[in-house]
């Protein structure tokens, strides 16, 4: 491994391409810690947003008018406002109203830190889209399939568990993948509230090393690679789950 890092040192000395995130152990550590934070942020938000989407879609399908109105209000509010302002609103304004935790050595700290607020905002933002995606997936399951299952004596729970949800998931997977990929890209917003994710640490590195051009390119390639890998994986998943004769919404038929 040292050989690889040394090669970047040679690259700097011989060609002036300065990439301290590879040859300098301190910058390297910073950079990969940032990458890890971005991954954690993405995984937490993706899982939570899918959970929000499922619960929301279930509430939309339930008989309760109040629950339906609430979920619709949430979906419209979060889909039609900028995520950056949502983040600022939650972090600066709502976070300011929450009680503070007393620390052992005196003083206090906020109940939720920047990372937690970023996860909350991204989950709510992505979740609002997921609610609609799951709802349209469930609606697109052919009525005849549902009727056939009912005729075979499936009760409501088993009907959903074994027939509706497996088909709905396959139907909405392309739209879901799209949204999850978007969510990972949106995780860069955490920069605005000082969460040390990939963009934030990269800005620190280029401020210290004065290598904006090289660092920007490293950053861009890292993100494009990461997002490319994720969308490739999701496309593979789509292909693996594919049921012949079942159409999709929001993707290729």
């Amino acid at each position: 491994m040292t050989g690889v890092w040394d090669w970047f040192l040679w690259l700097y000395e011989a060609h002036g391409i300065n990439l301290p995130v590879f040859y300098d152990s301190y910058d390297r550590q910073r950079f990969f810690a940032g990458l890890l934070t971005t991954l954690e942020l993405s995984v937490c938000s993706v899982v939570a947003s899918v959970a929000i989407g499922l619960v929301g879609a279930w509430a939309l399908g339930s008989g309760s008018v109040v629950a339906r109105r609430l979920v619709q209000g949430y979906v419209h509010a979060f889909r039609n406002t900028p995520p950056l302002i949502q983040l600022s609103f939650l972090y600066f304004a709502v976070g300011n109203l929450l009680p503070r935790l007393e620390m052992a050595g005196g003083g206090s700290r906020p109940l939720l830190d920047g990372f937690a607020w970023a996860v909350v905002t991204l989950s709510l933002f992505g979740g609002a889209f997921n609610v609609e995606i799951f709802r349209s997936g469930i609606e697109a399951v052919p009525a005849s399939t549902v009727e056939a299952a009912e005729a075979l004596g499936f009760n409501r729970w088993r009907l959903h568990r074994h027939v509706v949800l497996p088909l709905a998931l396959r139907i909405c997977l392309p739209a879901l993948s799209n949204n999850l990929v978007n969510l990972v890209k949106t995780s860069t917003l955490a920069y605005a509230i000082g969460v040390p994710e990939l963009l934030y640490v990269s800005a620190q590195v280029w401020a210290d090393a004065m290598n904006v051009r090289e660092m920007m390119n490293v950053l861009l390639v890292t993100y494009v690679g990461m997002v490319g890998l994720l969308s490739f994986g999701l496309r593979r998943l789509e292909a693996a789950l594919r049921v012949p004769g079942l159409g999709t919404v929001g993707g290729q038929p």
Binding site: R79, T81, P82, L84, N96, L97, K185, V212, L220, G228
Partner: protein
């Protein structure tokens, strides 16, 4: 925390005081979004047509560029343009200054280009192959087929995703505040630090959210209506 009537009036009066300034900032958000959409659409149309070109030398690069700009985060592209574009551009004898908001517009136009390219490709490929075949049998050249047969039919189904993209774009314009453009979000933060009253945080950010909602929600409703109207019945 329940504010008394006097406080509520005070807060509203403060928001009202700053509304003209933040409103002007919001106009800049709209201007940036319209310009970025125009630039991104023209470039994206060219790129999208490149993606369906019969020559691999044209098709492959167009596909790679499209995927690149679709996969890159908007904020990173914005940083890229703000930090690496020059302060002024010299075209022949002319020197055009490049203020931050123009660079931000270019930065936002890049992901729009990638997404429009994909919309154009998808819209064209969704048309039945028979349209191409019959145009060919009527001795249309490829260019004629594209401009006179394919695109006129493909434009309508492309409209809802294109409008969706515009909504995503206008909601991305506050990102320009991170790189120092004086749009609505920057000016709201400016107002908040000038007032320096923590009870203003919630109402001011809420007012800004409401302003964006008022602009975006009608677009979303209109898009949904068009989507239903153009939906193909199976």
């Amino acid at each position: 925390m329940i504010a008394g009537d006097g406080d509520a009036v005070g807060v509203l009066a403060t928001i009202w005081k700053w509304a003209p300034l933040i409103g002007r900032g919001f106009l800049l958000n709209i201007l940036i979004s319209v310009l970025a959409m125009a630039m991104g659409t023209v470039a994206g149309l060219a790129l999208g047509l490149g993606q369906i070109a019969p020559y691999a030398v044209l098709r492959r690069p167009a596909q790679i560029v499209t995927q690149f700009f679709r996969n890159a985060p908007w904020l990173v592209l914005l940083f890229y343009c703000i930090l690496l574009l020059p302060y002024q551009m010299t075209v022949g004898d002319w020197t055009v200054p490049m203020p931050a908001w123009i660079k931000a517009t270019i930065g936002l136009a890049l992901p729009v280009m990638g997404n429009v390219s994909e919309i154009v490709r998808g819209g064209i490929q969704a048309l039945p192959q028979a349209q191409w075949d019959s145009a060919e049998s009527l001795a249309f050249s490829r260019r004629q087929t594209l401009w006179m047969v394919i695109l006129p039919q493909a434009i309508k189904p492309m409209l809802p995703p294109w409008m969706n993209l515009y909504a995503v774009l206008i909601m991305a314009t506050p990102l320009a505040s991170i790189v120092g453009v004086e749009e609505a979000m920057t000016l709201t933060r400016f107002a908040l630090s000038a007032e320096n009253r923590s009870e203003l945080l919630l109402p001011m950010y809420l007012a800004l959210l409401v302003a964006f909602f008022a602009y975006c929600y009608p677009i979303a409703r209109w898009t949904a209506r068009l989507e239903r109207r153009f939906a193909v019945k199976h």
